[in-house]
Amino acid sequence: MIAGLAKVSCMLLPGATLVCVLAACGGSESRDFRENPPAGSPLSAIKESELEPGGAVHTESTTVATLNNAYAISQGKALFEGMNCVGCHFHGGGGIGPPLMDDEWIYGSDPSQIFNTIVEGRPNGMPSFKGKLNNQQVWELVAYVRLLSGLGGTSVASAREDHMYLSPDLQLRKPQKPKNAAAPFK
């Protein structure tokens, strides 16, 4: 009887351990489908021009939530293709537009500077997406664009590409320390 119980508990032990380990992981990542209020905020907070390239650094709470979120990054990736960013920047290597997977950032590598670049557009070809995308979508794009050069949490990047990809996968990409970074590189 006791031997039987011992056998049963031996069989249960690995399962019980697994349950404990899973419980310790503390649940899944949260997905933010929309900003509050539901309709999002209009992009009026962005100034039309600044004297310095890259513009002033402004902070918003959304960045923190979005930049290291796997769902936001995958949405950003879909937008990067859907909004035809790939048309000029290709999949990070650049062509018509500057490459996004290197350490050179003409208008700054800070999330808020990239936000401004997308919303306001930049001289010599970068169009303005003001009124074409809502804030949340722009932040998702920012998160993905930063990840192209290994900035941000590479662990939240997708390990699989949907298309042919020659460069190292996003998860394995070495962070490219931005030249002339406004904020100290972490």
């Binding site: 489908f33 929309r34 539901p38 999002g40 879909a78 909004m83 995308l133």
Partner: protein, 334 residues
């Protein structure tokens, strides 16, 4: 006979479908679904007979065990056990074989090509909506719509299935069995409706957060009404005359809408989201999630994430005037 059988089966199933949400495999409306339903009824009858036989045999064994108390190792008992096993194999194997042959023959018949010229429809699955395109040798006669497929009654339709992202599955229970939409591969399924009606199609392969809300209406109508419909779909919408609707068009083309949607003959020509050229003529919006009313459309435009969380359509921060203008414009797209 057929009606009573269907009634019994319907009582067994939980869904009593009617009108708009007609979706039931035991209420076939075409030859493919009918042969699948016959196979289902045949299998149910056999399963019921087997169930009764097994329960009956179990009861008989329990009773006999109480009555006789002889030694289980006696030769007479072994002989009767061997007889019982032979009998069981002799019954089970032919029954399974009959089911197998019937099953294969149904599989062949639902995929059989006919000599009748078929209508060809290309169906592409997206997360979480359906893109429908009617093939035509003349390019300008091709029709592109979304989440609604009109088919003529009595004519087989070849549906070519493709996927834009993950694996989906096309299932109109009233018309045919399931067939997967696989990325990088074109599958085909033949459907035919013999009775006019609106049949609900559902994605039958889990494809993400809004899999349950990925549905479509298959509208079977008389050949005359169908040709009228397809002719109207080929028409390019006239520019709005009403000032409010004209302003709505500016909102549509200048804002977030045109980044993903297309309306023929306007500046909006993106193909990420459903084509909205004839959106006002459709029965539902958001892939069968909501009825196509102005109020639902307004709610959907402002806060799609509240209705279908995770959908690619973003929230739209429109001013009330712009929203009213946009809705007026979308209503003109008949």
């Amino acid at each position: 006979m057929k009606h009573s059988r269907a009634a019994v089966l319907l009582a067994c199933c939980t869904s009593a479908c009617s009108g708009f949400d007609r979706q039931s495999a035991v209420d076939p409306a075409g030859p493919q679904a009918e042969s699948i339903e016959h196979l289902f009824v045949f299998m149910v009858v056999i399963a019921v007979v087997v169930y009764i036989a097994v329960i009956g045999a179990t009861i008989a064994i329990i009773r006999r065990r109480k009555a006789t108390d002889e030694d289980p190792r006696s030769p007479s008992r072994e002989a009767s056990a061997a007889r019982a096993i032979k009998l069981a194999i002799g019954v089970v194997v032919p029954v399974l074989f009959v089911l197998l042959v019937y099953d294969f023959s149904v599989g062949r018949s639902v995929n059989a090509m006919t000599n009748t010229p078929m209508l060809t429809v290309e169906l592409t699955g997206h997360r979480w909506w359906w893109e429908v395109q009617y093939e035509d040798p003349i390019p300008q006669n091709r029709v592109r719509t979304a989440n609604e497929m009109h088919i003529p009654v009595g004519r087989p339709v070849n549906v070519k299935l493709a996927s834009h992202d993950v694996i989906h599955s096309f299932w109109v229970p009233n018309l045919a069995g399931k067939k997967d939409l696989i990325p990088g591969h074109v599958n085909e399924v033949i459907i035919q409706a013999d009775k006019p009606g609106v049949y609900r199609a559902q994605c039958a392969e889990f494809c993400g957060a809004q899999h349950a809300n990925m549905s479509m209406m298959v509208v079977a109508e008389s050949p005359e009404r169908f040709s009228k419909w397809i002719a109207s779909q080929r028409q390019v919408p006239a520019p709005p005359v009403d000032t409010l609707a004209a302003r709505g068009q500016t909102v549509f083309e200048g804002g977030q809408c045109a980044m993903c949607h297309a309306v023929a003959s306007t500046r909006a020509a993106a193909s990420i989201g459903p084509d909205l050229t004839h959106v006002a003529s459709r029965l539902t919006i958001a892939a069968g999630t909501l009825k196509n009313t102005t109020a639902n459309l307004g709610g959907w435009i402002v806060d799609p994430q509240g209705i279908k969380p995770g959908v690619d359509m973003p929230s739209n921060a429109l001013s009330p005037t712009d929203l009213r203008a946009l809705l007026a414009y979308l209503r003109t797209l008949q």
